[in-house]
C-alpha cells in the first residue's frame, strides 16, 4: 500500500511544483533581459538553450520519468539552480537537522503530553488540572514564530548568541564532547518552541480519553476488585486511552516539520525549512520538489510505523 501511495504523491508533487507559470529559466531570461540588456529574442534563445541542458524542454511526463529514474537508480535528485549544486548536496545535511529537531520535538511532546494528560485526568477539577489546562491552552494558541522571537530577545540580553545550532567557536570545530554539549545548549530552544503546541495537544487528547475510559464499566470492575489505583490507571485505562494518540503519530511528523520550518526561519537555523522557502520563491523546482517528496516519504513511513505500533498495542486491530 505504501509504494503506490508514494508513487501518487511523487506525481502530485511534480505537478504541483510545475504549477506556477514559468520555470527557473524564465527568471534567468528576465534577468538577462533586464540586467544583461539582451533583447527578448536573444534572452529567450539563451533560456531555451539552458532548458535543453537541464532537460526542461521535454514534455512534463518525460521530465518526471527522468527525475524519478535518477532518484531511484542513482539517488540523484536533480540540480538546484539557485545553489548551483546537485540537490542532494544541498538537502541532506539540512534535512538531517530538520528530522533530528522534528523527531526530538515529537518524542518530547508525546512523552510530556501523555504524562501531564494522565496527571490532569486523574486530578480532574483540582488545582493541578487547572494549571495544566491553562498552560495547554496558552501552548496551543501561541504561534511558534512569536515564541521564537521572544526567545531571541531573551537570549540576546542574557549574552547567548540567539539562534543557530552551535556557538560561534564550535561551528568549525570537529565533533567532540564539548561540541555535543554545545549543541544540546542550543537545540532545546527550537525543540521546546516547536514541541510546545504538540505537547499541549497531546495533553488535551490524553486527558479527554482517559476521563472517558475511567468512567467505563471495566474500570469500575477493576476498582471493585480492589486493585490499587496505580494498576487501574496504568494497566487498564492508560493503555486504552493511548490509541488515538498513537493513530495520530503518523500524521504528526509533517506537522512538526512545518513547525520546524517556521521556528528555524526565525531562529536562523540552517535546516531544510528556510531552504525550502527560498526554493519556492525562486522556483528552484527540483530542490522544492525533492524536499516535498522526502517529507511525504516520512509521512508514509510514519503512518506505517503507527499502524504497526497500534497493532502491537491493541490486539483487536490485528484481526480487522
Amino acid at each position: 500500500m505504501s509504494i503506490p501511495t508514494l508513487f501518487v504523491i511523487s506525481v502530485v508533487v511534480f505537478v504541483v511544483i510545475q504549477l506556477p507559470p514559468g520555470d527557473y529559466m524564465t527568471t534567468v531570461q528576465l534577468q538577462l533581459q533586464s540586467l544583461g540588456g539582451l533583447t527578448e529574442a536573444e534572452a529567450a534563445k539563451v533560456a531555451q538553450e539552458l532548458r535543453k541542458v537541464y532537460g526542461l524542454d521535454k514534455p512534463l511526463y518525460v521530465q518526471y520519468l527522468v527525475w524519478m529514474k535518477n532518484i531511484i537508480t542513482r539517488g540523484d535528485f536533480g540540480f538546484s539552480f539557485q545553489y548551483r549544486k546537485p540537490v542532494a548536496d544541498v538537502i541532506w545535511e539540512r534535512l538531517g537537522w530538520t528530522i533530528l529537531i522534528a523527531s526530538l520535538c515529537h518524542l518530547i511532546s508525546t512523552l510530556v503530553g501523555i504524562m501531564i494528560g494522565i496527571f490532569s485526568a486523574t486530578h480532574q477539577y483540582r488545582i493541578g488540572d487547572y494549571v495544566a489546562t491553562f498552560f495547554a491552552f496558552i501552548g496551543l494558541s501561541t504561534p511558534s514564530f512569536f515564541l521564537a522571537l521572544v526567545a531571541m530577545y531573551i537570549l540576546a540580553s542574557r549574552g547567548i548568541q540567539p539562534g543557530g545550532l552551535f556557538s560561534q567557536y564550535y561551528l568549525f570545530a570537529p565533533w567532540s564532547w564539548g561540541k555535543f554539549v554545545d549543541l544540546l545548549k542550543h537545540i532545546w530552544i527550537p525543540v521546546v518552541i516547536v514541541g510546545l503546541a504538540g505537547t499541549a495537544r497531546n495533553m488535551r487528547v490524553m486527558r479527554g480519553n482517559l476521563l472517558d475510559i475511567l468512567n467505563q464499566p471495566y474500570v469500575l470492575t477493576a476498582r471493585s476488585k480492589g486493585l490499587p489505583e496505580r494498576t487501574v490507571v496504568f494497566k487498564h485505562a492508560v493503555v486504552n486511552a493511548l490509541h488515538p494518540i498513537i493513530m495520530y503519530q503518523g500524521m504528526v511528523l509533517p506537522f512538526m516539520i512545518s513547525g520546524e520550518i517556521v521556528a528555524s526561519t526565525v531562529l536562523n537555523i540552517p535546516t531544510a525549512g528556510p531552504m525550502f522557502y527560498s526554493a519556492l520563491v525562486s522556483q528552484d523546482m527540483y530542490l522544492a520538489g525533492s524536499f516535498l517528496l522526502l517529507v511525504a516519504v516520512f509521512l508514509v513511513a510514519g503512518n506505517l510505523l503507527a499502524d504497526i505500533l497500534l497493532a502491537w498495542i491493541d490486539p483487536r486491530v490485528r484481526y480487522d
Partner: protein, 682 residues
C-alpha cells in the same frame, strides 16, 4: 473616598510631571548627542593618507611564518614601492597591533564574487572588505574639502579646459594572488564591465555620458590613465569612481570568461564566472573570503598583498579575520550585538532601538552607541514606468494610475506617519518624512519641502475623484472603468526580507490603506530576488530604505531619469522608451546643471529646487526618517569620532576598517587560526 481619589489624582499629576521631565531630559540628551556628533575633527588629505616609501616594513605573524616557509615572498616585495601610508595624525588612537576577529552578520544571500557584473557578495560589509575603488568616497566626511580622497588613484589633475582628467595610479600594488594591478584592470572594468550593455554593472553608460558623449578612458602608461570628456569639469563623476560603482575588477581573472576575449563564452558564463564556493576570489581589498557555507558563515582572512601600511611600516589590516554569520533578517545583527557575538551594527531597525539603548546602558555592556544623523530614510517608491516590466493590462492600468499626481496625493494622505514612528520607537528617534531627502542629508532645505500629511478623509475624496467606488460592498474600492473595471483596487508592495523595519512599516500600511479602500499586499522577497525585480521593473509599490539620499550629490544619476536604469521607480523600457512626467524634464535639467557645478551655494540652490519638485509632485512617498546610529564593540580602537553609519558611504568605509585594531589583552581568538590566503596554481 473623595480624599483617596484626590490623592490618586495628585499621584497621577506627579507621575505625569516626572514623565514630562524624563521626556525633556531624553530629548535634551539626544539633541546634544546629535550636535556633538556633528562636531568632529576634519583633516587635510595628507594628514590621513600619503603615498611614500618607509625605511622598513613589518607584517602579521602568520604571514611572517608563511614567508619563512617559502609560501609567500617577503613583505617588501609584496608591497608597492610607495605604499599608501595611513598617517598617525588621522588616527584617533594611533598605530595598533595585529590580531582579533571582526564578527558581524550578513542577511543577504551571497551570490558570488563577480562584483563588476553586479553579482552580490552579501552586503553588510562583505563588499567593502574586498573591493577598492579609484578614489575613496568613505574618506570624504573627514576631509576639509568634503570631496573623495585618494585610493588606487594617488592623485589627479584636471586640464585647463576641464575636458581631460589625468589620474595617477599606485605603482606596484598587487592583487591578492600576487598579480600586478595596472591601468589594464581599470580599462577592463570601465569598457568591458561598466560600459558593456550586456554586463549588469551597477552603473551603465548613462552615468558616464557627459555632454551627450560617453566619457573616454585612455591608458597613458601602466600607471597613468586619462579621462576625456565632451563638456568641461564633470566634477560629479569623481563620486562614481569609488567603491562599488568603480570597484576595480581583476582583468587577469575575468578576461578568459568575457565573450569579447573568449568567443566560446556567453555573458551568462561571464556573470556567473565566480560563484560563491570558488574560493578564494582575487581582490584588492584588505580581506579575502576563504570559507563559505550557505546560510551559515563566510570567513575572510587578511590579504597578504594589501597595499596599505601604517606610519611604523606595519602592513595593514591590523585585524586578521572577518566573520560573517549568514542570516535572513537584518535584525539578527542587532540581537547578536547585544548577545556579544557580533561587533558592530548600524541601527537601521527602529523596532529594536529601545532594546539596544537599554542594553547599552547596563553596567558591563560590551558595546557603545555612536550617535548618527537624520539619514535613515523609509519611503514608498511607486513604479512610474510605462514600459519596463509592463506585462499585461493590469500592469499598464496600475502604472497609469501611479503616474497620476492625484493618486499619489491620496496615498500620501492615507499614511499616518506619526503613528508609524511612535509605534516603532516611542521617543524622539523617528519622525514623519513627507517625501524626498531626509533632513540630515547634504543640501537639505526645510523650506523647499511640500507635504501632504495624514488625512484619510482627503485620501478617500481624491480616490473617489479618480472614479473608484466600492461597488461590491467589501470595503475595498473597485475600478469603475478601463480593463480592470469591477476589480478591487489591489496593489502589491515589494519588501526585502532582510529589512526588518520595512516589513514592520508595510504591516502598518496595510491597515492604513485598507481604511481608505486600498488593499495592499506585501510581497517579501530575498534581496537578491528583489534586486532582479527592480532591474526588471517588476514591482508595483516598493518599500525602500532610501539610504542613498543622505548624500544626494554623490548619487546624481539616481535622482532623475538621466540614465536608462534610474531612478529605480521610473526606469526606461526596451529601446530606452520612457514617457517623462511634466516635472521630470526640469529635474533632468537641474541634475545636468549640478553635474558641472563646483560652488556649494549654487548647488544648494539647485538642490532646493529639485527638492521642491520632488516633494510637491510626490516623486517618492516618504514615510519616516530616523537617526542613523551605529553600535560597536568597546574593544575596537581607531574608530573616528562621529563616524556616520551612512553618509556618502557606509560605516565600513567611513571608519576605514583596515586601520581599526584591538589591544592584545582584549583580542578574541580567530575562527580559522593560522589559515592564510592561498591560491592553487591552475
Amino acid at each position: 473616598m473623595e480624599r483617596m481619589s484626590l490623592r490618586k489624582e495628585g499621584k497621577e499629576v506627579r507621575r505625569g510631571f516626572a514623565l514630562f521631565i524624563a521626556w525633556v531630559v531624553v530629548i535634551g540628551l539626544v539633541t546634544t548627542a546629535i550636535s556633538l556628533a556633528q562636531e568632529y575633527p576634519t583633516f587635510e588629505v595628507h594628514e590621513i593618507i600619503q603615498y611614500k616609501a618607509l625605511p622598513q616594513y613589518s607584517e602579521a605573524p602568520e604571514l611572517a611564518e608563511a614567508v619563512a616557509r617559502g609560501e609567500l615572498p617577503p613583505v617588501e616585495e609584496r608591497l608597492p614601492k610607495k605604499p599608501a601610508v595611513i598617517m598617525t595624525s588621522g588616527m584617533s588612537d594611533g598605530p595598533g597591533v595585529y590580531g582579533d576577529v571582526w564578527r558581524t552578520v550578513s542577511a543577504v544571500p551571497t551570490a558570488g564574487w563577480n562584483w563588476a557584473a553586479g553579482v552580490v557578495g552579501g552586503w553588510f560589509g562583505i563588499e567593502e572588505c574586498m573591493q577598492e575603488g579609484l578614489v575613496h568616497t568613505g574618506m570624504a566626511w573627514r576631509l576639509k574639502t568634503g570631496e573623495p580622497g585618494p585610493n588606487l588613484a594617488t592623485h589627479w589633475e584636471w586640464s585647463e579646459d576641464g575636458k581631460t582628467l589625468t589620474m595617477y595610479l599606485i605603482e606596484g600594488a598587487k592583487w591578492s594572488d600576487g598579480h600586478p594591478f595596472t591601468a589594464d584592470d581599470v580599462l577592463f572594468t570601465y569598457y568591458d564591465c561598466i560600459l558593456d550593455p550586456h554586463v549588469p554593472s551597477w552603473q551603465g553608460a548613462g552615468t558616464w555620458t557627459v555632454g551627450g558623449e560617453v566619457a573616454q578612458l585612455e591608458k597613458v602608461d601602466d600607471y597613468t590613465i586619462r579621462w576625456h570628456f565632451a563638456k568641461p569639469f564633470p566634477v560629479y563623476l569623481l563620486w562614481y569612481m569609488g567603491y562599488l560603482n568603480f570597484s576595480v575588477a581583476p582583468a587577469h581573472v575575468l578576461k578568459p570568461y568575457h565573450p569579447k576575449y573568449n568567443p566560446e563564452k556567453t555573458y551568462e558564463d561571464f556573470i556567473n564566472a565566480l560563484p560563491p564556493h570558488k574560493l578564494p576570489p582575487v581582490v584588492l581589498g584588505a580581506w579575502v573570503p576563504v570559507y563559505f557555507k550557505e546560510d551559515e558563515a563566510l570567513i575572510m582572512k587578511r590579504n597578504p598583498y594589501y597595499w596599505k601600511v601604517d606610519e611604523t611600516g606595519k602592513q595593514l589590516p591590523y585585524i586578521g579575520e572577518f566573520y560573517f554569520r549568514k542570516a535572513r533578517a537584518g535584525i539578527q545583527r542587532d540581537l547578536d550585538l547585544v548577545a556579544g557575538t557580533c561587533d558592530q551594527t548600524h541601527l537601521e531597525t527602529p523596532g529594536i532601538f529601545t532594546f539596544i539603548s537599554e542594553q547599552a546602558r547596563l553596567p558591563g555592556a560590551r558595546f557603545k552607541i555612536i550617535p548618527g544623523r537624520w539619514t535613515l530614510t523609509f519611503a514608498l517608491e511607486l513604479n512610474l514606468s510605462l514600459y519596463q516590466g509592463v506585462k499585461d493590462e493590469r500592469d499598464r492600468a496600475l502604472r497609469e494610475l501611479f503616474r497620476n499626481l492625484e493618486f499619489r496625493k491620496a496615498v500620501s494622505h492615507a499614511i499616518d506617519r506619526e503613528t508609524i514612528a511612535r509605534t516603532l520607537v516611542p521617543g524622539p528617534m523617528l519622525r514623519p518624512l513627507p517625501s524626498g531627502f531626509p533632513s540630515g542629508a547634504d543640501y537639505y532645505n526645510a523650506e523647499a519641502v511640500v507635504s501632504y500629511p495624514y488625512n484619510p478623509e482627503k485620501a478617500r475624496e481624491l480616490l473617489a475623484g479618480l472614479g473608484f467606488r466600492d461597488t461590491d460592498g467589501d470595503g475595498i474600492l473597485n475600478w469603475t472603468s478601463g480593463p480592470l473595471a469591477g476589480e478591487n483596487l489591489t496593489i502589491s508592495v515589494k519588501v526585502h526580507e532582510d529589512q526588518t523595519a520595512c516589513i514592520d512599516i508595510v504591516e502598518m500600511l496595510v491597515s492604513m490603506f485598507e481604511a481608505v479602500g486600498i488593499r495592499l499586499v506585501p510581497k517579501v522577497v530575498p534581496a537578491t530576488v528583489g534586486q532582479a525585480m527592480d532591474t526588471a521593473g517588476e514591482f508595483e509599490f516598493n518599500m525602500a530604505r532610501q539610504d542613498f539620499l543622505s548624500a544626494p550629490y554623490t548619487v546624481l544619476a539616481s535622482l532623475a531619469p538621466v540614465t536608462a536604469q534610474t531612478p529605480n521607480w521610473h526606469r526606461a523600457g526596451p529601446g530606452d522608451k520612457r514617457d517623462l512626467l511634466p516635472f521630470e524634464a526640469r529635474m533632468i535639467e537641474i541634475v545636468e546643471a549640478l553635474k558641472y557645478e563646483v560652488s556649494y551655494e549654487k548647488r544648494k540652490e539647485l538642490f532646493s529646487e529639485l527638492q521642491k519638485l520632488w516633494t510637491e509632485n510626490l516623486y517618492t512617498i516618504g514615510v519616516i526618517e530616523g537617526i542613523y546610529n551605529t553600535a560597536i564593540t568597546k574593544r575596537f580602537k581607531n574608530i573616528p569620532i562621529g563616524v556616520p553609519a551612512r553618509l556618502h558611504q557606509w560605516f565600513h568605509l567611513n571608519v576605514m576598517q583596515e586601520q581599526v585594531w584591538t589591544p592584545k589583552e582584549e583580542q578574541l581568538p580567530e575562527f580559522l587560526p593560522g589559515v592564510i590566503v592561498k591560491y592553487s596554481k591552475d
